[in-house]
């Protein structure tokens, strides 16, 4: 399962909802609208989480582009919920960049966001679900 948060900019002529519904009908993609400004006269935008197989995702995105929709990926980043993290260390098995590492001798698990490549491998490896994917600018865009 592949999942990305996208920002879609619609020119005034494109019927936003109809185009988005086609993503499900034609490409078997699941979407989740995180935020939108819909307008018939002016251009509008939509922040969308899109899920499906990687190839369907790619087909869906090129379909959107063909319809005149400008697609950009929301800047995403990984955060650790410090309240939840138990410092078990399980995530360090999969983190390819060393963003998640262990401070010795305390055995405290450190998360260095600078080193994170947002590969998302830690999200479902963390048994406590302390690692999450967040959109960098969602707050601003939703206003």
């Amino acid at each position: 399962m592949y999942s990305k948060i996208l920002i879609l900019y619609f020119p005034p002529v494109v019927a936003q909802n109809a185009v988005v519904c086609y993503l499900t009908k034609k490409f078997d993609l699941i979407f989740n609208i995180l935020g939108a400004r819909v307008s018939n006269k002016k251009d509008g935008y939509m922040v969308l989480e899109l899920r499906g197989t990687k190839s369907n995702y790619q087909k869906g995105v090129s379909f959107l582009k063909d319809q005149g929709v400008r697609v950009s990926t929301a800047e995403q980043e990984i955060w650790r919920d410090m309240e939840k993290c138990t410092h078990c260390g399980a995530c360090t098995a999969v983190c390819p960049t060393g963003a998640l590492s262990i401070k010795r001798p305390e055995m405290e698990v450190i998360f260095d966001q600078e080193k994170c490549s947002v590969c998302e491998l830690c999200i479902f490896t963390c048994p406590t679900r302390a690692m999450g994917l967040y959109s960098k600018n969602t707050d601003e865009m939703m206003v």
Partner: protein, 386 residues
Amino acid sequence: MTSYKINKTYGEINDKIKKGDAVVVTAEEIIDIVKEQGPVTAAENVDVVTTGTFAPMCSSGVFINIGQFKPVIRTTKTWFNNVPAYSGVAAVDCFLGATATSEDDPLNKLHPGEFNYGGGHVIHDLVAGKKINLRAESYGTDCYPNRRIEKTITINDLPQAVMCNPRNGYQNYNCAINRSDKIKYTYMGTLKPGIGNANYSTSGQLSPLLNDPFFKTIGIGTRIFLGGAQGYVTWSGTQCKKDVQRSLNGVPLTPAGTIFVMGNLKEMSPEWLVGQSIRGYGVSLSVGLGIPIPILNEEMVKYTAISDDEIFTQIIDYGYDYQQGISKSYGQVSYAELKSGFITIKGEKIQTVPLSSMIKARKIADLLKSSIKRGKFLLGEPQQMF
């Protein structure tokens, strides 16, 4: 009969605890104390050594009595947030196991499954005071005509909730590698192919059962820290093995002893009972467990003074072997080596990955130490040894 220079009884130590005079240190602190003072002086000075561990312990669960309804019901099936609890016991009793998955969980149909919610999570939500959907069914009898109930509850609505874990606190455990060419998602975490990593799960020198390798002070009735409350060792655990290979210091070289523990869930806290979603494997519960070891004599202080470099385990392959029931060792490593971050297998440097939280284990040992010092936690003298 061995004769010791230092001889203390449970009663004497408890009297000191009640007066606030007991000397209590953690299983990490005792290491240097014994090195500096020698075992006899250390045993004279120290009364209790505290241990701790925090890791997924799958063999955990809760006996729950859900209370009666009008008309009355003899439940045959019970669910908490859609997670089934075993109901083949009396009228409104059931057992909610930590590894039970939610009824609508896709499991491993899309491998590796995510296992987002199950028994371990319900237990965490209960102790966190969250609202839980309770549903139960029955076939109906003359005396219990009700066939279906559904209600939103919190832990306060339950007449009884007793944690009852048949196998906790494993005394030593395998170090897991994967020799195959495919990634393996196991209860020992994610194992990368071609021996990409080596996972282990222990608090080592702080681990309860490694500090009393022959169960000389841990038996039925030992009072323990369980999930943030005071609980008890109520039996030897399932798969408990004492007849194993040991190092000269007596510490088992392979998985060995286990304990059966119980406690009142209503007194426990969400910090020490955390639901776990183990990718591709299932759900579980991380349990905070701590045992105070009474220093009855110099022999006990020697056991508690063991350090990570003197505790060894075996490297086992979860790529091909484990599935076939083969327990061939690919080498013996110490927990000091494992905790260093790398071990060497056949000349290759392999990254090591812990699954058990040392940060939490240390906190448990510290909490136990302070509650004993303050006279809030007395030793439970075992009524029978295993």
